[in-house]
Amino acid sequence: MWRHYIKTAWRNITRNRATTLINLFGLSVALVAFIFIALWVQNELSFDSYHKDAKDILPPANVFLKQSDEQPMNGNKLLYHWENLLNKAPGIEDGATRILPQNFSGTVLNIHNQLFAEKSCAYVDDNWFNMFHYDLLYGDIKSFYANPFSIALTESKAKKYFGDDKKALGQFIKIDSNTYQIKAILKDNPANSSFQSDILIPLSAYLSNPSNYKNDYGWNNFNYLTFIKISPNANPANIERAAKNIFAQNKKDSTITLSIEPLTQWHFDNRSSISSMIGTRHGNRSSLYIFSILGFLLLFIASINYVNLTVARTNARTKEIGIRKIIGGSRMQLFMQFLAESLLFCSIVLAISFIVARLALPIFNNVTERQFTLSLSSLVVWKTLLGTLVLLVLLNGIYPALIIAGFNPINFLQGKSILKFKNVFLRKSLVVVQFVIAMVFIVGALVITLQIRYIQRSGTSYNRGQVVSFQFPFQTLKQYNYFNFDKDKISAYMQVIKNDMLKNNSVQDVELANASIDNINSWSSGGWDWKGRAKDFNPQVARFVVDAGTKDMFNIQLKEGRWFRNDNSDKHNYILNETAVKVFGIKEPVIGQYFSRSGDTGQIIGVTKDFAFKSMHEKITPMAIYTHEIKATFFVKIAAGKIPEAMKTIEATWKKFVPDAPFEYQFMNQAFDNLYKDDLTVSKLVLLFSCISIIISALGLLGLAAFVAEQRTKEIGIRKVFGASVRGITLLLSKDFVKLVIIGIVIAMPVAWWAANKWLNNFAYKIHLSWWIFLLAGILVLLIAFLTISFQTIRAARANPVKSLKTE
């Protein structure tokens, strides 16, 4: 019986090529998107849960300055002294473990005299591998800890540096003046791990340097991450309270607070920026939900096509169904037959989608910057696939099968077809739903595109593609002992480097600053003073330390006053941004007023127009610009069309002045995109999804229009015989559909408005949601729908009436 079902199903699928292709395409595309989303969601939800007893491992993750919860500190040092805690709060079972990540500055590896900058190094203490799960490939952990100067590294790094993961074992890597031996090769960190450090070194190696030890063994260092493991029945609240007390007693000079939470929830806690220390990003629950919904919506609209077209097709199969019933097929048997057909079809769709997903996985990994795998040997993949199949069959198969099973064969003998009026209403509603979704997607894509464009135009406007930046390493500065922190000496030294680059005419301009103008993340509160400041008013002030030429390079616009002169005369003077003037409450005339920073006193010589110097998610805050401070980030403006030549020049300069570190640089447009990486990813995905949804909806409409045209062949024939024009008939046929699409658009408006508003609320600075966005989207949808329908209707209208009437 099943063989019979499958055989018939297969013949039907292959016979109706147009319908099959529409369905295959729509469902497969939607399913590929769905599989990716499922992978991502599954991965997010399982973060860090693979460690044994993960829920009992508590990272005291958040150390906040009480003054402002918006400015979390990087990491914490408190439980470095976790022994103190043990006595106060029982329940800490396996003690604690620490990691000292080195992501921020990067580590220079010397391998066979070749230099590599490695950003994923970390020092770990003796308990690390007990607490966290790692898969060991070669070597062993015991010998890793036996000698402090050991390294454990992941297989992909081993392959990168030594060509072969097995051969890397026992090799040597030089870091600074110490030589380390590779003692263990680990499997790569899973995509759902918060710890993405690839190179691990025993902490004892780091602390064997007395100055490191002295610097770190106190309460003022926040570079460590500490994790404690509690026994299952211990009360985390007690431990948190005890930890807070210890901290308060030992670090009396600060108002820092602390909280702890299970490791498994750490991933979604994006209040802290600890993540940047260990190479992973925190997850965002709301985007997780949004994308889950998007995935289901896509699958849903593709399924609507399938249901609509299958039900429409059953009309053509009235004869087959009628006969089957007459020759003895029962309701159940027919139901099963059509369900089997859906099952077969959905399995094909699933297989195609899986293959496409496998092929497209590298692209997806690239966009999400994760390392997902889609292997048939994975149980999770099978679970996801089977779950999807069941969902698909339920969505797609049940309704058509029910309609078919209930068909009374006498209707067939009397020349009536299966579909009755009530089915038409349902199918029309489904089309409306499809277009509601498509419309929402398109409004979404428009709003996101406009917002991104707004962002790109709201910083200072300069040609980011022609400016490259690199940082003079602090390690190298250290060698000169910071020139005894003499700003003038350092500045003179930097000037020498600047001039060295300027010798080549491919380099137009070189300026120094403390940070990129697009992302000034240096700030301080306290120490600032101006006329009229209340004693206890210590707002945060962003610091932008610049060269005099910076204004022209970044095209900074002044509102009033003047810029710094290119000599030493403005050494103690300041320029503020508009917000600073407002927040500080400085009264007119602003120019010439007293301004001071930690006793370095001068006057305000200018005020800039406000520009976004941080991500647009954040509000523009007060900023002070000045010149006389250490700055070590170079910005090089390259003459048009001379990028390769200029890069050669810059690198040569680098080698001359910084021989012991590899040259690393970034173009400003890349850095800028990096700042909005998540937004750009979202915008790309939504754009992609809206294209998919509109294509699927249009395909559905096409199929339905074809079906209606076929159903009304006789009517069209008669109308033509009685003199109706092609135009008249085209309009007649299109009218109904256009009505549906318009209904869909109208329903979509408030939904789209709500969703767009919700998303825009993530930004401190956003576009205004004007009516024309919705109008444009509506017209676009209508146009696409109309073109799709006309394709069918015109064909139907032009058909020869004699033919159609004869076949009736």
Binding site: H4, K7, R11, E320, R324, I326, I327, G328, P409
Partner: protein, 220 residues
């Protein structure tokens, strides 16, 4: 075998009741070969559909092999119909997506007959109807006469006691028609299959053992 008592069927348009069948009293015994005749719209096909349990009547009693058909549940009626009645149509009504072999096999599939037995039965009937060479073709590849042969083979494959044929030769030329009628006659005489056919043709009606004339839904 078949007993209809005061069977009527009608449609109501507005307040007007139009009778499709009016007060039909009819008995058909096992082994009969009955021809139903009458002009277009006289209710021949409706009567046949009622007998074949595809359609209901509004009034009267229908007894089929001691079962009161109108009182049966859909499922029971389905069982009766599936096991005892075979249909032959003017337009053949083969399933175009299935081969000759599969068309004939399908009724047996619906009766859940085991594969080996099923294959034997189908092979046997294909042999008997002399269509072995055509068994892997699809219906549109056959001539009308051949299609009707397949239609009859399909109606017979489940060994029904009753064959209902609605103008079985209506789409065939006279030679093909004659062959089909010969076949019916042979089935009736040699195997004792009860046959009820609807026909326009006096000649075809003459193959049967009895003729029932219908006019405006009544037997005359």
């Amino acid at each position: 075998m078949i007993q209809l008592q005061h069977v009527s069927k009608w449609v109501t348009t507005g307040n007007v009741r139009t009778f499709l069948l009016k007060d039909i009293n009819l008995e058909i015994k096992q082994g009969e070969f009955v021809s139903i005749m009458g002009p277009s719209g006289s209710g021949k096909s409706t009567l046949l559909n009622v007998i074949g349990m595809l359609d209901d009547a509004d009034e009267g009693v229908y007894t089929f092999m001691e079962d009161d058909v109108f009182k049966l549940k859909e499922k029971q009626r389905g069982e009766l119909h599936k096991h005892h009645i075979g249909f032959v149509f003017q337009a053949y009504h083969l399933i175009d997506e299935l081969t000759v072999y599969e068309n004939i096999e399908t009724p047996l599939l619906y009766q859940s007959i085991k594969t080996s037995e099923r294959q034997a039965i189908v092979a046997d009937i294909i042999d008997r109807f002399n269509i072995v060479g055509k068994k892997d073709l699809f219906p549109p590849q056959l001539s009308g006469g051949q299609q009707q042969l397949v239609g009859i083979a399909r109606a017979l494959v489940a060994k029904p006691k009753l064959i209902l044929a609605d103008e079985p030769t209506g789409n065939l030329n006279s030679k093909q028609g004659e062959e089909i009628m010969q076949l019916f006659k042979q089935l009736n005489e040699e195997e004792g299959v009860t046959i009820v056919q609807v026909t326009h043709s006096e000649k075809n009606a003459a193959y049967g053992t009895r003729i029932i004339n219908l006019l405006d839904g009544r037997i005359v």
